[in-house]
Symmetry: C2
Subunit: 176 residues, 2 copies
Amino acid sequence: MSLRHALLGLLADTPQNGYDLTKRFESTLSGHAWSAGHSQIYPELKRMLGDGLIEVVDEGSRGSKVYGVTAPGRDELRRWMLSPLGEAPARNEFVLRLFLLSALDRPDMRTLVDQMAGHSDDLAQELEGVVKMIEEHAPTDPTYNYSRFAAEFGRRYYSLQRDWARWVLEQIEKTD
Amino acid sequence: MSLRHALLGLLADTPQNGYDLTKRFESTLSGHAWSAGHSQIYPELKRMLGDGLIEVVDEGSRGSKVYGVTAPGRDELRRWMLSPLGEAPARNEFVLRLFLLSALDRPDMRTLVDQMAGHSDDLAQELEGVVKMIEEHAPTDPTYNYSRFAAEFGRRYYSLQRDWARWVLEQIEKTD
DNA sequence: GAATGCATGTAAAGAGTTACATGATTAA
DNA sequence: TTAATCATGTAACTCTTTACATGCATTC
């Protein structure tokens, strides 16, 4: 039940409404961490409200509800954050394709891995730009540290994907 | 519907039964790529059989069905493997926790990131061992290349996680 | 002959996606 | 005034997990 904890974490950072939470999922978490649409978020917020983990702290101009984390909510978030790191079974379609590489013939294999290296490189460079922008815009602001951490992770991750794909390509060529 | 393609990919490599597929998911794919239990695999195999993507190529000793990929199945697999790389919205609980870091106070933050660095380092070293074992056991066997690719990805990934966690730790200390 | 591993299934509940649906506010 | 954005919700469907359930073959 990670959706609940993701929402708790975002609300602990900044009280906000379901709409903002939806956008934040889309922009910050969706790439590497977690994803959820508004149709999943709104009902979950209601349940969390019922469970006493969050509360309405303000009402926006058009009747929107701004949620904040309650004390029990904060306890639950902390408990989850510090709970033992199990083998979180990850899902990643990109990696899945590369793990199934042997199903393709040589030309297709090269096409795919080459495409992947290029794609990863594009993303790596994009994230490079994001990291730089954050560093220039808010070099000392500690609040921006956290988005920097996320962006830096993305940068490193896509570089890894690119380098690994290039390495796989080399290995394939070798055995030709 | 990646489960279907994962099964198609595994069967394209080696015809096998549902039991073997379940174990393969557990051991090879579960860490980074995809996960599925037998209760999801058996019904999906039936559906794929109905859709003509796979066929029974052999019957094992205790009536087990060994599946192989049909020509249409191979086409579908290839189509999917080479289809454009969209933004695959990944789910990763480990990364999610780190993205929500700001919800913790300083001591908890340090505890968590330190724990994560250690955990990632353990896994990185484990994968290091796996890579070495594969390289020594089958240095030239092209069949083993593919498990090598996967293991190498894991090694690099966990090293990234470890290094990144250590870097985050440094950044946190700086702002104290 | 008892335990372990092989082998396959179903049922129910929970999580996630896609589609449908509505209405208010703001900027052009 | 019309288009975009804000804001919230439900319904149906698909996917995933957990639990229940069975029986054969091999090894100790």
